[in-house]
Symmetry: C2
Subunit: 321 residues, 2 copies
């Protein structure tokens, strides 16, 4: 009928429930041959511990902490919103998500997620014995899972879109970096170079994710090189890019940028930009929580590959983003 219980395992192994329990939960004090027999019975019966019963008994509710940078970049606030929504959605599943600011100190919890490569915090959490999942921005080192897009792939995607848009013709695409120091941005740029080749990509300008700088530097670049046929904005600060495109009217380069925000969405709809590559923050958050739950349950988190979404003016998601 139903799945086998630990009682069934104990019976099959010819030991008492207590012994089976000691083996399962590693409480020690069990003879090697008993351990083997219990393990074998678990195998044979295909026993899987019922996590709902286990958690009920432990009266454990998963305590997760999420460290999200400040800033209303639009992107981080989308991440925040996603965490709150998931927190709501999983309330019946004994999952409590503590949304914390990056400035707050580390507190105890079952698993933590950091948004962005905040190495110091990751180290602090790891030192405290808390497993860490990184979201959005990977950071090599002792973390248990990375959830986010592959930025090399994202960059290649942007490059491919420019290629398609320049079909048959030569391309002069200007890449706009937030900062050359950010690994994510470097990866995206590298991806674009892979597809477009160095010949079609101009030297990147860096605008520090700042709309003002974006506007100033981009205006300058477009004046200096009237032959620019494409823009690839790798980081943030696109509020400075959009009005420039509006001013140019019909004659503007093909524009690809990242992250679907209210601004970029409106610009797409207005035909001021062409493509938005989006990380799907809500999905990333949901997957991150799945991974955290798996880690807290002592399982290996399922590897997830998030393919960035590609938005045109025609396939924008509705009111349920």
């Amino acid at each position: 009928m139903g799945n086998p219980t630990l009682h069934d395992v104990a019976r099959a192994a010819g030991v008492s429930y207590s012994t089976a329990d000691r083996v399962l939960n590693g409480r020690g004090g069990v003879a090697e041959k008993s351990i083997q027999r219990v393990r074998q019975a678990i195998q044979d019966l295909g026993y899987r511990r019922d996590m709902t019963a286990a958690n009920l008994s432990r009266r454990r509710s998963y305590r997760f902490a999420a460290y999200v940078p400040q800033g209303d970049h639009g992107f981080f606030s989308a991440i925040r919103r996603a965490f709150l929504a998931e927190s709501q959605r999983r309330a019946g599943q004994r999952i409590a998500i503590n949304l914390r600011d990056v400035t707050e100190p580390v507190t105890d919890c079952d698993c933590a997620v950091t948004v962005g490569a905040d190495q110091d915090r990751i180290d602090a959490l790891t030192a405290a014995g808390i497993p860490v999942v990184t979201l959005v921005s990977d950071s090599p080192g002792a973390r248990r899972a990375y959830i986010g897009i592959d930025n090399l792939v994202a960059g290649r995607t942007a490059g491919r879109l420019h290629r398609i848009a320049h079909r048959g013709g030569p391309a002069r695409v200007l890449p706009i970096l937030g900062s050359a120091g950010l690994r994510d941005h470097r990866d995206r740029l590298a991806g674009a170079i892979e597809v477009l080749g160095p010949g079609s990509l101009l030297p990147a300008i860096a605008v520090a994710d700042d709309p003002g700088r974006m506007r100033a530097l981009l205006e300058q670049a477009l004046r200096d090189d009237p032959g620019i046929t494409g823009l690839y904005s790798i980081g943030a600060g696109n509020r400075g890019l959009i009005p420039l495109m509006r001013e140019r009217g019909g004659d503007r380069p093909f524009v690809v940028l990242h992250e679907l925000t209210p601004h970029s969405r409106a610009a797409l709809q207005d035909g001021l930009i062409d493509v938005v590559i989006d990380q799907k923050p809500a999905e990333e958050v949901a997957r991150a929580l799945d991974a955290m739950k798996a880690i807290a349950d002592g399982e290996a988190p399922a590897p997830v590959a998030i393919t960035p979404a590609i938005f045109f003016k025609d396939n924008l998601p509705g009111d349920t983003p």
Copy 2:
């Protein structure tokens, strides 16, 4: 500390546990004023029934049935695989998924999902009092949730990609239908027309999702109209399209088609086609199961919008699709 329990609710409402339980589970035989007080207490305390404990007690494991059409189209087999994988993944959550063939009769279960618009089956399930979720293909009527892409949006996306690829030049795009009778296909075509306009879209040919027909009819069409600059394959049967593109060498139209299968994937990598629009079967299945669980728990399923994925040769998902 933890969440309030039904005991807490009863205490706050000034009634016994029994009465609170009767209200919560609608067992009847409760005075109106007691109902109100319990409801109020639930509100005040923010009580949410602990589903894990409830399910444990009911010794309920969710019994779901999935009706997937036969056929190794590649797409349906991907759906099947996704169901099996999710079945595995959720084994610890007392979720049993019964993958059934469309020819099998309806059996009792907590919620069913049909892939494709199989109205007869939906009616049979509904008549048996089983809530139904439809996957991939919507069918208006008494069903509880639809999980799948918006095919109008998918068609618009295809149209937009052709537009981008034809930037500055006139377009002659040939749409290739599976069948004009399928609502999904009609929607996709309509979407493409919205973006490209009737002027750029040639009259559609219909190939009945059959590779042989595809090959024959498409070859004919390309001969008849050498000015074709784009193909939009709306249905299946692309195994007949791909070799044609190979034969044409460098000079081929811009090709957009649907569903990432081993064939279409290889064709993308070989540069024989340009874009694949994919429904993300694995994600659809996962979302469908979420919805089914919510329905079985008596909650309203969260509305989900699945944005079709757009694949080029550069952003194909790795070994974890």
